[in-house]
């Protein structure tokens, strides 16, 4: 759809830069990844006075023609592809249009003269939340925790990126709480809050007191379950966080990755290649701003301490759920 830069309406165009965005499958309204990416574009448009167009693909087969449509028009300074699923399409279209610059978000692509990729170290998104949860579940100062040493993770779909995120969470929890049990379930979709809620309720009934998810709009069901049971939840989107029950938000600042892409175009520093971000780059983090749960200072200190360890490069996180136990056996937090 046509997006106006805010300056358009005032009649004075700050610059002629025009950005195109091909969102991930399913488009806007996922309360997660796509919405965040779009937010980054909006913010950049406001800050730099650029104009933009975007499309919302209905299926994976739409990426290629939509990327091509933008490239073909020759109007755009940059075409941003959102989501790892676009990788094949971007590579193909980029080779067809060597003069068109592309950025792809969420997956690393190398070896193309006209593609820059921004991606995150996925385990780092949830690692600090994992640490926080591992500590909180053992703590009786918070009103909604229980005796059990059990956490839960409602994973969106059974695919590598969501699994990597879950691995990060588990590693975090076990890093500070080696005996913790983590129940995890796959919801099977980004738009099935009913199923997600059921998974969350089941997990709570099995003794978990904190549940986390990375399932976009399905996460609404997880939050609802937490509210109903009076338990904690950690989501991935500030938009849908619940001030009373959200312990934190695990952020992977997709908006920031997008913003940086646009910024580099405006500043003329855009270069082909690949950037991988993490906690050290302030792209992955845990976020408790605006939430009401009062987490004891000593716990937050430990989390910050561990965050520093990562920034200092002292910890290499596991990418696979299967590797977490072995990793935790080797890595234990010592004060």
């Amino acid at each position: 759809s046509g997006g106006d830069s805010p300056t358009d309406s005032e009649g004075a165009i700050d610059n002629e830069i025009k950005i195109a965005m091909v969102l991930g499958e399913g488009g806007l309204g996922d309360l997660g990844f796509n919405d965040e990416a779009f937010e980054g574009l909006l913010k950049a448009a406001e800050d730099f006075g650029i104009s933009y167009d975007y499309v919302e693909p209905k299926s994976v087969n739409d990426f290629e023609p939509q990327l091509r449509m933008f490239a073909e028009s020759g109007e755009y300074d940059l075409v941003i592809a959102v989501g790892a699923t676009q990788v094949d399409a971007v590579k193909l279209v980029a080779s067809e249009f060597p003069d068109q610059r592309f950025s792809i978000i969420d997956v690393a692509v190398e070896g193309y003269d006209n593609i820059h990729s921004s991606s995150a170290r996925n385990p780092e998104q949830h690692f600090l939340s994992g640490v926080l949860s591992g500590l909180v579940t053992l703590d009786d100062r918070l009103p909604y925790t229980n005796e059990e040493n059990i956490l839960a993770f409602a994973i969106s779909i059974d695919a590598p990126i969501p699994r990597e995120a879950a691995a990060g969470f588990m590693a975090g929890a076990k890093y500070v709480n080696p005996d913790v049990e983590i129940i995890y379930n796959f919801i099977g979709g980004y738009r099935d809050p009913e199923k997600a809620k059921e998974i969350a309720l089941t997990a709570f009934d099995r003794g978990a007191d904190i549940i986390t998810h990375n399932a976009g709009a399905s996460g609404l069901g997880v939050i609802e379950a937490a509210r109903e049971r009076g338990k904690y939840v950690i989501g991935t989107s500030r938009q849908s966080a619940d001030v009373d029950y959200s312990l934190a938000v695990s952020v992977k600042k997709t908006e920031q990755m997008v913003y940086k892409e646009v910024e580099s175009i405006v500043k003329g520093t855009w270069q082909a290649g690949s950037s991988v971000y993490g906690i050290a780059d302030d792209v992955c983090d845990y976020d408790i701003s605006g939430l009401k749960v009062e987490i004891p200072e000593d716990i937050l200190e430990i989390v910050e301490d561990i965050k520093q360890e990562i920034i200092d490069g002292k910890l290499e996180l596991p990418y696979k759920i299967e590797d977490v136990d072995e990793w935790a056996a080797r890595n234990q937090y010592k004060k």
Partner: protein, 376 residues
């Protein structure tokens, strides 16, 4: 000669109906768009310019139509024996997976062998699913509507498992399989497009099914089975065999759709490879009155709408769901010739003699009878 005339008249009758159905659907759509505060003219202009206004647009329309020819044909084929194949989606997925495996893991074959082999692998697994459905129906009386819905879920999960587990390339962060060999890739007909030679395969399949149904004894048996099972049995036609053949063909065509998507568009299996093509096929088949040749055109119409929607999405703020809604309405109108008649006669009520409308009804009835027979 008289024959030709009859057929022509009937064909014209059903063409007229399709035309009016389309017209009323667009009109209904325009009203909805206007009520929602957008400009119908701008919307339709964007759709038409986007899909037919340029060479690229036309090519995109055709490439979007290709899978729909397959799935429409798949539904229509099973419908010839009055079986409802809601399972094209699953058959397509399994076909795509088979194509991806055969295309990627078999190496060292010349194109001339590898391409047909890969195509057929998709057709084969799709067809086998069809056979399974018939087996469950004949042996246990399980309705094919139910089993195909269940199988869709099962197959989707199964291919998901394969593409995120055992068959996923090590370095891939999304569920998908390895890229297929060069020797298994279909040629793209136009540079910078998804249009591949799959469209010829689809058209050829439609023509072959048409000939099979209309011109051969087997097709005759299929028609008889669809129209009157007991008469077919009495005439020594094995119903089970007819079910098996048509459902195998139906599944095979859907499977072929899957393998040709892999070979022509995606070059590998990816999750979400079908944009609900299996389900859209039902509408396409209906719009084409279950006639294999007409399905080519109805699929093209859907392809045009689809590629128009892409442009619409880029250039206007009009939500593209309007295109979906228009499709739904087209289906409703087309499927209801009597509805169109009713709407038309509303207009004609004043001033026309009863006799005339009697005449028209007569034409309509004739058109219908012949349509059911599969003729146009």
């Amino acid at each position: 000669m008289k024959d030709l005339k009859r057929k022509f008249a009937a064909g014209l009758g059903s063409f007229k109906l399709s035309f009016f159905a389309l017209f009323f659907a667009l009109l209904t759509g325009a009203i909805a768009i206007a009520l929602s505060g957008y400009s119908p003219i701008e919307t339709y202009k964007a759709i038409i310019v986007g899909s037919l206004g340029s060479k690229q647009g036309i090519i995109l329309s055709l490439s979007s139509a290709t899978p729909l020819i397959f799935t429409g044909l798949a539904f229509a084929t099973a419908y010839k024996v009055k079986m409802i194949n809601i399972g094209a989606e699953g058959q397509l997925y399994l076909g795509a997976m088979a194509g991806a495996v055969v295309g990627a893991y078999i190496t060292g074959l010349p194109r001339l062998v590898h391409i047909p082999l890969t195509l057929l692998s998709g057709a084969l697994v799709g067809g086998l699913i069809g056979i399974l459905v018939v087996f469950l129906k004949v042996k246990f009386g399980a309705s094919e509507i139910i089993t195909t819905i269940m199988l869709n879920e099962i197959i989707l999960l199964f291919t998901s498992y394969l593409s995120s587990g055992p068959l996923k390339p090590e370095d891939s962060v999304i569920p998908q399989t390895h890229v297929i060999q060069e020797t298994a890739q279909l040629t793209r007909l136009a540079p910078r497009s998804q249009l591949s030679s799959a469209i010829f395969i689809a058209i050829a399949a439609a023509v072959l099914i048409h000939i099979l149904i209309k011109k051969t004894p087997l097709g005759y048996e299929i028609q008889v089975t669809g129209l009157n099972r007991r008469a077919a049995e009495t005439a020594g036609i094995s119903i089970t065999k007819m079910y098996l053949i048509t459902f195998f063909l139906s599944g095979a065509i859907a499977g072929l759709c899957g393998s040709s998507l892999v070979m022509g568009v995606n070059r590998r299996f990816v999750e979400g490879i079908s944009a609900n093509y299996g389900y859209s096929g039902i509408s396409v088949a209906a719009l084409g009155a279950y006639n294999p040749l007409s399905i080519i055109f109805s699929a093209t119409l859907f392809g045009i709408l689809k590629s128009g929607a892409i442009t619409l999405n880029r250039t206007t703020a009009v939500p593209i769901e309007f295109v979906d809604a228009i499709q739904a309405v087209v289906v409703a109108y087309v499927a209801a010739p009597r509805l169109i008649e009713a709407v038309l006669s509303l207009k004609n009520k004043i001033g026309l003699k009863k006799e005339k409308s009697l005449n028209r009804q007569q034409n309509l009835a004739e058109g219908e009878v012949i349509k059911d027979d599969g003729n146009i």
